[in-house]
Symmetry: C2
Subunit: 164 residues, 2 copies
């Protein structure tokens, strides 16, 4: 017994992240939220998702802190709730952008990508409207690493399992 040890694949932030946003629809809901959607019927109409499932997903995203359930009241109507993206939710943008890039590269519409993500800013200073892409860079400042130039190493919270 006691062969080599390797990082336990179950104790991994990828798996934990996927347990929150890995279900069908979750990331698409976040994408719509990033696009400014906040209301139940708008999510439902834009995604074509079933109402009960949307309710369940919104609940779990709220529980995970990705969305915030906020009461609002439009003049002349009763109080209702909307779902606002939190900081956590905004921080899923790189994930969505990585998926967008991969989809554009390998599964795009023949006419080209349907969505281009561009740089802008509230103040004019940095607004340039140029397309944005994902880049891998290391703490030593090496930029644009190819996917083959990275490897996984155990971190402080690593657990190990024996492999045979």
């Amino acid at each position: 017994m006691g062969g080599t040890r390797r990082i336990d694949p179950a104790n991994c932030s990828v798996a934990r992240a996927l347990s929150v946003v890995g279900e069908r629809w979750s990331l698409l809901i976040v994408r719509e939220a990033i696009d400014g959607v906040t209301r139940f019927n708008d999510f439902r109409d834009r995604l074509g998702i079933a109402g009960n499932l949307l309710a369940a997903r919104l609940d779990s995203l709220v529980a995970a802190g990705v969305l915030l359930r906020v009461p609002y009241r439009e003049p002349g109507t009763r109080q209702r709730y909307e779902y606002r993206l939190t900081g956590r939710g905004l921080d899923l943008r790189p994930t969505l952008l990585a998926l967008l890039e991969w989809g554009d590269r390998y599964l795009a519409d023949p006419e080209g990508p349907s969505v281009v993500v561009r740089h802008h800013s509230a103040d004019d200073e940095h607004a340039c409207e140029e397309p944005v892409r994902i880049s891998l860079e290391c703490a030593a400042g090496h930029r644009d690493l190819p996917p083959s130039a990275i490897h996984r190493t155990p971190g402080p919270g690593a657990r190990f399992v024996d492999s045979t």
Copy 2:
């Protein structure tokens, strides 16, 4: 009729990418493949996934070009098949890294991340073993854009739907 028009949310590379790698287990299988796993029983043992489901996922990842089914033969055994990551599969690393970063930031083990992705290279020249992270940069050279500094615009393949 004919309100404002917006990008059709169904005609989107994020949705297409998720139709390939968005099912439960798919990205974890890719993660293991990136980690060097190629064989059925290794995937099964490391992930704890049911055999029939693993078979189905491997098939669909092969059909999507993420994995390649390659015959091999170990001396003294019959020919078997293994599943090798393709270029498409490797290009999912940024997606996995984005999920890893998000999970580390918001769902980490109290002791810290279990996995740290580091920079290395086959030739010593660029090897530095520093941690790698995802960065958003635009074509004009602006780097490290915060998630709030980007927005979606229609691309050449965009389709539109009326919104009320």
